[in-house]
């Protein structure tokens, strides 16, 4: 009885986050009728301002469907059920990722996106489940099962933000201003070199070994059938102190193989690694860009991808 109450009660709470629901994406597509769509996670969210990008591109309509903490499983489902299923005249979809995440199909192991995924999935999804099953360890499958029992976790980000908002009540500045101030204070350029070291990452799998068990071939296939261009944007990791690129030879090989594969498949590929315009000071952490550089990065991004917007030369610098 005791265990039933303890383990059962938290499973009762089932919230949904309206800001990141499939309906909100469909609504955004319907309202904007975009020609260009951006997909990705917080790396996209901290890099590109959709309105400013639209302005730079002579008013061409752009929509960003970024969802923090998502990976390629969600982007595949967004592409299939939101972007390609809409009536909008979509020409090109840009998909943002870092390192080799485009061929790592995990769907966010902490369950925060489980509701979103459940909302996006509809009908028979044999391909989706095949890729997920191929790429998950038993441990990850157990975590996913637990996440299914306790959807309360989907509000984790909001709950943590709530603590910060509560702390800000007594202070004159707004929670957003205080968060920006904290972000500035703890940015990389204020940190000691020893504490600014990057966390260890999983070893890179060769592209050839990972592509078949990823969503990448499925994305290319459905886009080709719909006649929509795909452009994959690989964002750059924070450069080293001396400005050099932080990338292993294995990762370099991966990127090269990915570019060749996408070229053969008729998709675009922009790798920002080594881009000299990206300064170390722009970074909040290893990959995220500080809020104050959102416009700068949007311009930088626009300059790089202008050809995909069918604009000659498009430099705004």
């Amino acid at each position: 009885m005791f265990l039933l109450v303890v383990l059962g009660a938290p499973a009762v709470f089932r919230f949904s986050n309206p800001e990141e629901s499939p309906a909100s994406f469909v609504g955004a597509m319907h309202d904007a009728e975009p020609r260009f769509v951006l997909l990705g996670n917080s790396l996209l969210e901290t890099r590109v301002d959709q309105n400013y990008l639209s302005t730079l591109a002579d008013g061409r309509r752009v929509v960003s469907l970024a969802v923090p903490s998502t990976e390629s499983a969600v982007w595949y489902l967004q592409l299939k059920y939101v972007v390609l299923a809409s009536d909008a005249p979509v020409e090109t979809v840009f998909i943002f990722f870092h390192k080799d995440m485009i061929t790592r199909p995990l769907e966010g192991l902490d369950g925060r996106n489980r509701g979103l995924i459940a909302g996006l999935l509809s009908g028979d999804e044999t391909d989706y489940y095949r890729v997920i099953a191929d790429s998950r360890s038993m441990h990850q499958q157990m975590v996913a099962a637990l996440d299914g029992v306790y959807p309360l976790q989907r509000w984790s980000d909001s709950a943590q933000d709530g603590i910060a908002d509560l702390a800000a009540i007594l202070l004159p500045s707004s929670p957003q201003e205080l968060s920006d101030s904290a972000e500035d204070e703890f940015a990389f350029h204020n940190r000691r070199e020893s504490s600014a070291e990057d966390p260890p990452v999983d070893p890179v799998r060769a592209f050839e070994d990972s592509v078949s068990s990823s969503f990448l071939p499925l994305m290319l296939e459905i886009a080709r059938e719909a006649g929509v261009n795909l452009v994959f944007v690989r964002v750059q990791e924070r450069p080293n102190q001396d400005g050099s690129v932080h990338e292993s030879p294995a990762m370099h090989e991966y990127s090269k193989a990915l570019g060749e594969y996408l070229g053969t498949a008729g998709a675009g590929y922009v790798d920002f690694t080594g881009n000299p315009s990206i300064d170390r000071a722009m970074y909040y952490d290893s990959f995220h860009i500080r809020a104050r550089y959102l416009s700068d990065y949007t311009e930088l991004f626009y300059n790089e991808i202008a050809p995909y917007f069918e604009i000659e030369g498009g430099s705004v610098r």
Binding site: A9, S156, I163, A167, L178, R191, R192
Partner: protein, 476 residues
């Protein structure tokens, strides 16, 4: 293997499922196997080391046991010395040799004797600081006749390796733990409920409190030159983090052990309510402070050998306690700082007569003053770079702008919010005696406990950060 992994949950569920169908010896055998799986999960070499250490300490204790009715002879003293050598030697090699060689090399370099390659790269086996002290205390107790020698290798093996407390304590005494392994355990629903509640409270403290305020502490201590306000917010955050982290670990250990019918010692007793440095050490990491009291301070003569000798004994004990935490100068300084606080407290106390009563106003200030003194010490504990320690301690309050203070206040208020559950727990615990007089039915009590436990579980799901840190005391 660590507590916050699914592997641990799997091991716990499997072991628990079998445990209560077995007899006493098979229960111990199952716990021993589970403990070695737990310890050798990442690196089987650790299990080999643990078994070799256990065998040597088992033999030492057998040999160090005096013959009944006779004082300990030369042979017994030799075996005692062997036990001490094995335990201290294991600590010395794995924990301090690298530090010693590095320090000698640095010193030689300062003296201009040349540059040396002085990094030995010795890997510290997890938990060695804890199980060596536990085993050493046992051998000494056996030799002194304070506890019965354990002749059953299986019982002794599980006493040393019991997985809930293997890697970060509590450091148990043989007189508490061994009799529990030597007697038959029967399933009790009360033990199971208490165990689950402790587990959830421990995980709540670790995953919700420690991991969230740890982000603030890590950010502040990671700055090149934090300002005055941020330094002290970082110190507060770290103070809360280390308490929630370590006491959380202890509660998980106690809760897990309770599921197997084993009661481990209390390791924390609301240390933030301490009224003096001495009182703090009666409440913080109790199993370590009592170990050092009984096996270092008292054998050195304690407070019976005159005032000067007492001061030396206190300082030696605290320096060793500091060094036990890690082979680094900052831990030595941290030990010296606390030793100094205790010495000053004793000196001030001795100036007053035994008749002197502490005025009410002073009594009210005792808790915040002790809290501030202990908090200041956390800088020495957390900061490994002495130049940065100095920079933090000398940060000027006048060099800050209003927005700097607002940011510090913003972060400080977040720390305060995360500390509320700890304060509520203290308030509830201190008022339990008053509540006991009320007519509360067992159903009401169990209902309240179930609601609290479910609340902790829900809070863990809701408020744990996406990526949490390892337990701080695992590094010791």
């Amino acid at each position: 293997m660590t507590f916050q992994t699914l592997s641990f949950l799997f091991l716990l569920v499997c072991t628990f499922s079998l445990y209560w169908f077995l007899g006493r010896r098979m229960q111990n055998l199952l716990l021993l196997v589970a403990s070695y799986v737990f310890y050798g999960y990442v690196d089987p070499w650790l299990a080999v080391l643990l078994s070799a250490f256990s065998l040597l300490m088992y033999a030492s204790a057998l040999g160090a046991t005096p013959i009944v009715g006779e004082p300990a002879g030369r042979r017994q003293r030799m075996f005692l010395a062997l036990g001490i050598a094995v335990a201290v030697g294991a600590l010395g090699v794995f924990k301090f040799l690298g530090f010693f060689v590095e320090s000698v090399g640095d010193f030689a370099e300062v003296l201009g004797l040349g540059t040396f390659s002085n990094h030995l790269n010795i890997i510290l086996p997890v938990g060695i600081s804890f199980y060596t002290l536990q085993a050493l205390g046992y051998v000494i107790d056996v030799h002194c006749g304070k506890t019965e020698v354990c002749r059953d290798l299986l019982d002794f093996g599980i006493f040393i390796s019991f997985f809930p407390q293997l890697v970060a304590g509590p450091i148990e005494r043989a007189s508490n733990l061994l009799p529990q392994f030597e007697s038959r355990r029967r399933f009790s629903a009360e033990d199971a409920r208490e165990g689950v509640t402790l587990l959830l409270w421990g995980f709540f403290k670790k995953l919700v409190i420690a991991d969230n305020v740890g982000v603030i502490a890590d950010n502040v201590f990671g700055l090149e030159s934090p300002g005055f306000g941020l330094v002290w917010v970082g110190v507060l955050a770290f103070g809360l983090q280390i308490f929630a982290d370590f006491s959380g670990y202890t509660d998980i250990a106690r809760g897990t052990a309770r599921l197997f019918g084993i009661k481990l010692s209390l390791n924390f007793n609301h240390p933030h309510m301490a009224r003096s440095p001495v009182d703090f050490w009666r409440r913080w990491h109790i199993s370590l402070s009592t170990w050092f009291r009984d096996y270092v301070y008292i054998p050195l003569g304690g407070s019976r050998a005159g005032r000067r000798r007492t001061v030396i004994n206190i300082m030696v004990t605290f320096l060793l306690s500091g060094l036990w935490h890690g082979a680094a100068w900052n831990f030595l300084l941290w030990g010296a700082y606390h030793g100094g606080l205790v010495v000053v407290q004793r000196q001030v106390g001795s100036l007053k007569g035994s008749e002197w009563r502490i005025p009410r106003a002073v009594r009210l200030l005792q808790i915040p003053v002790t809290f501030a003194l202990v908090s200041a010490g956390w800088i020495l504990f957390r900061e490994t770079d002495l130049a940065h320690t100095l920079g933090m301690l000398t940060a000027s309050p006048f060099a800050e702008s209003a927005s700097d203070y607002e940011l510090a206040l913003f972060l400080g208020l977040q720390v305060a919010i995360y500390s509320i559950p700890v304060l509520v727990h203290t308030a509830v615990a201190s008022s339990v005696d008053g509540v006991r007089g009320l007519a509360v039915t067992p159903w009401q009590r169990e209902g309240a406990r179930a609601v609290f436990a479910a609340g902790f579980f829900a809070a863990i799901l809701l408020l744990r950060p996406a990526s949490g840190g390892e337990f701080i005391y695992f590094q010791f």
